[in-house]
């Protein structure tokens, strides 16, 4: 059975797909702010990422500490094949549902 994705999860997975190797907390949030006009907190983003990591939809690794981050490392996040499939499925469902609907 395909993984069910909530709306915020879909948005984050789309941000990951868009950002590629440069996906981490700050860039994910920036993408969401720019493209959805939402201003999610970092807590919401990390909570969702952790949930999706538990489900195997994304994977993460720690980078190098950077001075601009107060000497702290970045957590780089990337889509897994399963996450990509789930995103494709969720997006397909939206497109199929929207087909033929007028006035959107």
């Amino acid at each position: 059975m395909a993984d069910y994705l909530g709306e915020f999860e879909q948005l984050i997975l789309l941000a990951l797909a868009r950002l590629g190797d440069d996906a981490y907390g700050v860039t994910i949030r920036e993408t969401l702010v720019e493209r959805t006009s939402r201003r999610p907190s970092f807590g919401a983003i990390y909570s969702t990422l952790r949930r999706m990591e538990d489900k195997g939809l994304v994977r993460s690794c720690l980078g190098q500490p950077e001075a601009v981050r107060g000497g702290r490392a970045k957590k780089h996040v990337a889509l897994t094949p399963r996450g990509r499939a789930a995103l494709r499925e969720a997006h397909g469902a939206i497109v199929r549902m929207a087909e033929g609907v007028r006035g959107l």
Partner: protein, 900 residues
């Protein structure tokens, strides 16, 4: 930049992502400031982000056990039903109704919790600090400890190599030592900076990448490698104006040109609080075993290894080394210790147990406070028997009433607990600042210092609040609700009797006060006494600095003698001398030579301050102005004399020779008697006046043993300058610069440490003594005040309860003293019983406390403390009883009968 609420993310599911999450928030915070946001609005935004993350983390943690939230346990249901908002409102009203009780209780709880939490937080910060590095809890220290003196031995260059080559449970083993050196960049004035000479593994063990360039590499440690320097972020910003091309530039350290090879990121200060790092170039072949630079050794536990497995492996290596080199290692035991403790030199076997015992003892302070409050609350609760009886008659169960009374205690304890916590945080911050005055820190906080409130401290305070509520609320409530409904109804309008609980509480609180106070008094007096120890020479006119050569392996020889001579010619220098230590000359326990050449042991702990042994230059006493009382001073021939001549001070003679004739007497270090190489015999050739004096206790003055040392014998020495006028003023008048110029003129390879006034250390010591003294005074006054309040409550209640009886007895012509006798007898029995139990407790606790913490014994003059405390308690009890007793005598018989 740390946010004060960072610690909130240590709980809940956000803990795992804490570092990267805080990094993201920090990055965004800086971006906001760059975009022109105000600091205040950015701080508010940052706080919001942290709080939101905390909420998400807590929610996720709860969601992991959905069963728990959907189906609360019976206990949770019961609490939800029992503790209600009206209960809390009623509690608040009652607290306001009895402002006297509320005030005494609040102050007592606040002071009690402040002391307990302050001690706990400080001990936690020292014993269990979180190293803010990746898997920082696996970074450890390795050191040799002298089992006789219980001090660490840092001459471990040879051992360091052995440990690094042989250990498998600890990896990335490295070492460092710190030095103060003159650093000059470009045309700027040279300044003295603190530099860590560290192995390259220091950077890999910390797992922090450089911001620019590279960090040190193992090849940099080769003697023929080019001298290189790594700079910290703060130094890069303040001294190099954040120059992006700083890598590759050259600076002068001492006389050597170093090339900057890298800049470390912000916050990186490993190993202590450093901003400059050079490679550690210490070749073991250049030093004898037991000599060389003083090193701190560190490493990281290998994957799968534990403290215990590393200690087991190290002990095996240590046994092998001790059997191979008995002359230097017979008394040395290698230990795996917490990294921070090896830096501060506080690592000691069993220190955690000793601190735990101390924490339990300190926690007793709050138990004493709570017991006293319980007495007061119980007195009030018994006055409320009418209300309790009516509530019971209306159907309230015992649990319901106990919960109500516990809610009152909780309301009473919460605000003082928060105030106590705030007071404790303030005290801990002050204590840490004093603590960081130690030379190892040089007045700056080490990188692991965390001033924020720790979750463990909050947990401890919550546990204290639970104990307090248990004693102050539940105990009196259980007692007050023990009677049956019928009994309660029947007692409406009659007096209430105080049963055994009351008596037991009084006995217990007096006993705990008597048992715990002597230890505090003794500790306080010891601190105050040692605080009164003052140098007998004008310490404010002395400056001190370390001197060695580049590489630290060449003997100082004529260079030191010449530097002394040239300094002596300076107009503002009154005298110059030096002190130095030679290996194998320390004395931990004195054994005198008997008439037949045999060894006669002496008392192993003759003075509380111990024995200090060091080598001195021949004109040391002249420069310090210390008078020779008997015999002779050292001369140039003494340093090579095989009879090992020594000069001792008056304290030594008093402690070990019973003030007998000292000249010609011989002694040795008894601590090494059983080792492969026993201590040589030393012959006393002179006696000096003490270097320090104490107006009230000569035991607080250390006993000094001086042996002769020549400049040709040492590779490092401590240069002492007696200047004309206050030493601190000379630091600003260019003396340090002249000193460096003189040294460079003699030999550019001479390396000088930072010049400090000798009074510098003295100041931090007196600050520490003052803090401890004030804290202990606060504790003692609080405990005595609450004990007196408890006894006062007992007397008031007794008098109130016996009004009728007193009235009748007075009416029948009983003389006042008989009435007073009957009032006081109960107090006397209970306070007296408490004193006896307390004295028994103090005597029982004496042995474990002495062995664990090393506090003075209940012997000799110190034995007076215990009965003195007991007497003070008794006096406090009777003084508190005086007012109520006087009221008792003034009761008019007609009034007393009318009240019933």
């Amino acid at each position: 930049v740390r946010h004060p609420l960072d610690f909130l993310l240590r709980v809940g599911r956000m803990e795992a992502d804490r570092v990267s999450l805080l990094g993201d928030i920090e990055e965004e915070r800086r971006a906001r400031i760059r975009r022109g946001s105000g600091h205040l609005s950015t701080f508010v935004w940052q706080t919001g982000q942290i709080l939101a993350a905390c909420v998400y983390g807590a929610r996720d943690a709860l969601r992991r056990s959905p069963q728990a939230s959907r189906d609360p346990s019976p206990g949770r249901r019961a609490w939800a039903g029992l503790v209600s908002w009206p209960d809390l409102k009623l509690s608040l009203r009652l607290l306001l109704k009895h402002p006297g009780l509320t005030l005494v209780a609040s102050v007592g709880i606040a002071v009690g919790i402040a002391i307990c939490a302050g001690f706990f937080a400080f001990a936690q910060s020292q014993l269990y600090p979180t190293l803010p590095l990746d898997e920082g809890d696996r970074i450890i220290g390795i050191e040799n400890q002298n089992v006789v003196t219980r001090h660490e031995n840092r001459n471990v260059l040879h051992d360091f190599v052995t440990w690094r080559d042989q250990m498998t449970t600890v990896v990335e083993i490295g070492a460092f030592h710190q030095m103060d050196a003159r650093l000059q960049f470009g045309t700027r004035h040279a300044e003295t900076v603190r530099i860590a000479a560290m192995t390259a593994s220091g950077f890999t063990v910390a797992r922090v990448a450089p911001l620019m360039g590279r960090f040190l590499a193992p090849d940099d440690e080769r003697p023929d490698a080019d001298p290189v320097l790594v700079v910290g972020y703060d130094a890069w910003r303040s001294r190099f104006a954040q120059d992006p091309s700083v890598v590759g530039q050259q600076v002068r350290i001492g006389t050597t040109i170093h090339t900057i090879v890298g800049v470390m990121p912000e916050g990186f200060k490993f190993p202590v609080n450093h901003q400059f790092w050079v490679p550690l170039r210490a070749n073991p072949l250049a030093f004898e075993r037991g000599a060389g630079p003083q090193l701190c050794v560190f490493g990281r536990l290998a994957p799968g290894a534990t403290f215990a497995s590393a200690q087991a492996e190290l002990a095996a290596i240590g046994r092998h080394t001790a059997s191979a080199f008995p002359q230097t290692h017979a008394n040395l035991k290698p230990l795996v210790v917490k990294y921070t403790l090896t830096v501060t030199g506080d690592a000691e076997e069993g220190i955690e147990v000793a601190v735990l015992i101390a924490e339990v003892l300190v926690s007793l302070v709050l138990v004493v406070v709570a017991l006293n409050l319980a007495i007061l609350v119980y007195a009030r609760t018994t006055y409320r028997h009418r209300e309790i009886a009516i509530r019971t008659a209306l159907g309230a169960g015992r649990l319901r009433i106990v919960t109500q009374l516990s809610a009152e205690a909780l309301t009473l304890a919460l605000v003082p607990a928060i105030a106590g916590l705030a007071l404790a945080q303030y005290g801990v911050r002050l204590s840490l600042q004093i603590f960081h005055q130690q030379p190892v820190f040089g007045g700056a906080a080490p990188f692991w210092t965390d001033y924020s409130l720790q979750p463990a401290t909050i947990g401890y305070v919550l546990a204290l609040v639970v104990v307090t509520v248990g004693i102050v609320g539940v105990l009196p409530a259980l007692r007050a609700t023990r009677r049956s409904v019928a009994g309660n109804i029947g007692q409406l309008g009659t007096s209430v009797r105080l049963g055994r609980t009351w008596g037991v509480l009084i006995v217990a609180q007096v006993a705990i006060a008597v048992a715990a106070l002597p230890a505090m008094v003794r500790l306080g007096l010891t601190e105050i006494r040692s605080g009164l120890t003052r140098p007998s020479y004008p310490i404010k006119e002395f400056l001190g600095l370390a001197i060695t050569t580049e590489g630290g392996k060449d003997r100082l020889g004529h260079r030191l003698t010449e530097l002394k001579r040239r300094l002596q010619a300076e107009p503002d220098v009154a005298g110059v001398t030096f002190a130095a230590s030679l290996p194998g000359r320390s004395i931990a326990r004195v054994e005198l030579m008997g008439p037949a050449g045999n060894a006669v042991p002496t008392d192993s702990k003759p003075t509380a301050a111990g024995i200090r042994t060091f080598g001195i230059d021949s004109d040391y006493f002249n420069v310090y102005g210390v008078r020779l009382l008997a015999g002779r001073s050292f001369d140039a021939r003494d340093s090579g004399d095989l009879t090992n001549p020594v000069i001792v001070d008056r304290s030594f003679v008093r402690a070990f020779l019973n003030d007998g004739h000292p000249l010609g007497r011989r002694f040795r270090d008894g601590a090494r008697a059983g080792s492969g190489q026993p201590s040589p015999w030393y012959e006393i050739v002179g006696v000096t006046e003490n270097l320090a004096t104490n107006p009230i206790d000569h035991h607080a003055v250390p006993a000094y043993v001086f042996y002769p040392v020549a400049a040709e014998q040492v590779t490092a020495a401590s240069l002492r300058l007696h200047v004309r006028g206050p030493a601190a003023a000379h630091l600003e008048s260019g003396l340090p610069q002249r000193l460096h110029r003189l040294a460079a003129g003699i030999d550019p390879a001479l390396r000088l440490g930072e010049i400090r006034p000798s009074a510098f250390i003295d100041l931090s010591e007196s600050l520490k003594t003052r803090l401890i003294g004030q804290t202990l005074t606060l504790v003692m006054v609080t405990v005595l005040m609450l004990s007196a309040a408890g006894v006062y409550a007992l007397m008031s209640f007794t008098v109130a309860q016996r009004r009728r009886e007193i009235g009748i007895r007075t009416a029948l012509g009983a003389p006042p003293y008989r009435v007073l006798q009957s009032i006081f007898s109960r107090v006397a029995v209970q306070v007296g019983s408490g004193m006896l139990v307390g004295i028994a407790g103090a005597v029982t606790l004496e042995s474990p406390i002495t062995s664990a913490i090393g506090w003075p014994e209940l012997a000799g003059r110190r034995a007076i403390v215990l009965p003195a405390i007991a007497l003070v308690m008794l006096l406090a009890g009777f003084l508190a009883a005086f007012g109520p007793a006087r009221r008792g005598l003034r009761i008019q018989p007609t009034e007393a009968l009318k009240t019933e």
